[in-house]
């Protein structure tokens, strides 16, 4: 469904992606783990078009998408839940969700969007309770729910999640990962980037390990979880969720 081949990208002047190749098949949950500054966020931003790819190919559903602007890419079916949520903080919970479906009103119609709203409220009843509240006044966990709900309102075929557990209490992080599983049952393919390797490997079918802009390891999550190098580098440290924000 998604295939990256030898993709380079720059974050400012730093080359953040060095010839990345990876693929995501329909219906999969794929995790990318790695430490701070490994280029994980740049990877997602390059797929969603926020950062231009310099060289290499990105193919989504048989169509090259490198070079398209983000507002086109989301229409093709890739929606990103950005790092640190980036919700519209001065707007209401409802408005945030509606904006998630912004490009669908013309295409799918109001009723389809409202049905999807019901599903978001079903998986996150907390958001329904706070429907009229200003998004910026929500707790961190609720804001992450909102960001995830908003990203899903685009009805993506592929959902990109950037550090969904960042800054969340362990219980809340678990809730977010549990819901990600439910989204997959709904037919959404997920590419998740995480510092919390434990949680990510527990959720994903397959995973990539990134270091300094390159993929250094890949495989089934269960294999990686038992890989000595991964255990030493990521799982040992990652039993407590990292609290320091990444750049």
């Amino acid at each position: 469904m998604l295939k990256l081949e030898k993709v380079n990208a720059f974050y400012g002047r730093i080359q953040a992606l060095r010839g990345i190749s990876l693929h995501v098949a329909e219906g999969e949950i794929v995790a990318v783990i790695g430490s701070n500054g490994a280029g994980k966020s740049t990877l997602l931003n390059t797929i969603s078009g926020m950062i231009p790819a310099r060289g290499g190919q990105i193919v989504f559903a048989g169509r090259p998408i490198a070079g398209l602007p983000p507002e086109k890419i989301v229409r093709l079916g890739i929606s990103q839940v950005p790092e640190r949520r980036q919700i519209f903080s001065t707007m209401s919970v409802m408005d945030n969700l509606i904006l998630g479906a912004y490009h669908r009103y013309g295409r799918d119609g109001r009723q389809a969007v409202e049905r999807d709203l019901d599903f978001v409220f079903e998986i996150f009843p907390r958001l329904q309770e706070r429907i009229g509240q200003t998004a910026g006044t929500l707790s961190g966990g609720e804001q992450q729910m909102l960001a995830l709900g908003r990203g899903w309102m685009a009805k993506p075929r592929l959902l990109l999640m950037d550090e969904p557990s960042l800054g969340l209490a362990p219980l809340m992080a678990r809730e977010i990962f549990r819901v990600s599983g439910r989204l997959r049952e709904r037919g959404t393919t997920i590419l998740v980037v995480e510092q919390n390797a434990h949680a990510a490997l527990a959720l994903a079918d397959r995973a990539y390990v990134m270091e300094e802009g390159q993929v250094v390891l890949e495989g089934k999550s269960s294999d990686l979880a038992s890989d000595q190098r991964v255990q030493k580098a990521y799982l040992g440290k990652a039993t407590t969720p990292p609290s320091s924000p990444s750049p």
Partner: protein, 338 residues
């Protein structure tokens, strides 16, 4: 001093003190001229009329600034264009009744100016959209000069006239309450401001496209991820700003004599009103505009009319020195919200 001034209680007391001193000073100066309460009420009402126009302009500044980060100095020219196009169409020999002709002239003024706003964005801002905000602001100054020069060529250097809406003649109807006079055109201006405020509120709060515009103001990158095209929103913001400016110029037309360079001083005052309101909130800048109109008119009334334009400069400098984020803007950090 600036940091000291930011602590909320200090700020409120400080503002109250300044207002009190200014009030006492203006009362004292007014008593030298033997002003009666009616004189003050008259000054305040006239100030509110001018302030409504400043408010309309300030909304234009806010819409463009929130969405694009640009201070659009051509805002004053939109006001001029609205008034000029309207009076030109009204002066044409059209086979319409005077009332219908006025309506057609108003529609033409608003629509054509909006079109000019859109053209301005597409031709000058859009090609340079990846440049810094400063570059874009300088571009708007260039557009300002161009529009003003074009107006000079088209309409000449002499002032023009636009008939009052009520009488459709140069003489407006005047209502008298005790010693206070209100022109019918003032009522048109206030009603227009009220209607525009309601329309803008409904547009921004209730429609999808209005919400997208606000989303762009709050977080442009996230808005882009939602499929909102920021350059489309920039175009929409300029269109809105031009329409707001044109409406202001048209309702103001009958009480001034529209002239090709009227945008200079009006633009400055609209900008000051926007700064008073903190540049990001519509209600804030409306209060800012009305306040500026009243202060300016009172100050000119109790001293000398020549002081009028000095007042807005003094306010501008004082605000930029003391509270760059605006007087009515939030305390520590005002989040961007239209």
């Amino acid at each position: 001093m600036p940091r000291f001034f930011q602590r909320r209680p200090v700020r409120i007391i400080g503002i109250a003190l300044i207002v009190a001193v200014l009030l006492i000073a203006s009362l004292a100066l007014g008593s030298l001229k033997h002003y009666s309460p009616q004189n003050y009420i008259q000054l305040i009402l006239d100030g509110l009329r001018a302030g409504s126009i400043y408010a309309l302009m300030a909304m234009g500044f806010v819409v463009v600034y929130s969405v694009t980060g640009i201070i659009n100095f051509a805002q004053g020219e939109f006001v001029m264009l609205g008034a000029m196009i309207c009076l030109s169409v009204d002066a044409m020999n059209l086979p319409l009744s005077p009332a219908l002709k006025m309506i057609a002239a108003i529609a033409a003024g608003v629509l054509l100016t909006t079109g000019i706003g859109i053209l301005m964005e597409r031709l000058t801002i859009y090609p340079a959209r990846r440049s810094s905000a400063v570059t874009l602001i300088i571009i708007t100054i260039g557009v300002t000069i161009t529009l003003r020069a074009a107006a000079l060529l088209i309409w000449g250097a002499d002032p023009h006239v636009l008939p009052a809406f009520t009488t459709l003649a140069l003489e407006d109807r005047i209502f008298r309450f005790g010693g206070v006079m209100i022109q019918a055109q003032s009522l048109w201006i206030w009603a227009t401001l009220a209607v525009i405020l309601i329309l803008l509120y409904v547009f921004l709060q209730r429609t999808l496209i209005g919400k997208a515009l606000r989303a762009c103001a709050v977080n442009r990158r996230a808005a882009q991820l939602m499929g909102i095209n920021p350059s489309r929103m920039s175009m929409l913001a300029f269109a809105l700003a031009a329409a707001l400016g044109a409406v202001g110029g048209i309702v103001l037309g009958p009480v001034t004599r529209p002239i090709y360079d009227m945008g200079v001083m009006l633009g400055l005052r609209g900008f000051v009103a926007a700064i008073i309101g903190g540049l990001v909130s519509v209600p804030g800048v409306v209060v800012g505009g009305l306040l500026l109109g009243v202060i300016e008119n009172l100050a000119a009334g109790v001293t000398d009319p020549a002081f009028k334009s000095v007042v807005s400069f003094i306010i501008l400098i004082a605000i930029l020195l003391l509270r760059p984020q605006g007087i009515l803007g939030g305390g520590e950090k005002s989040t961007e919200e239209l």
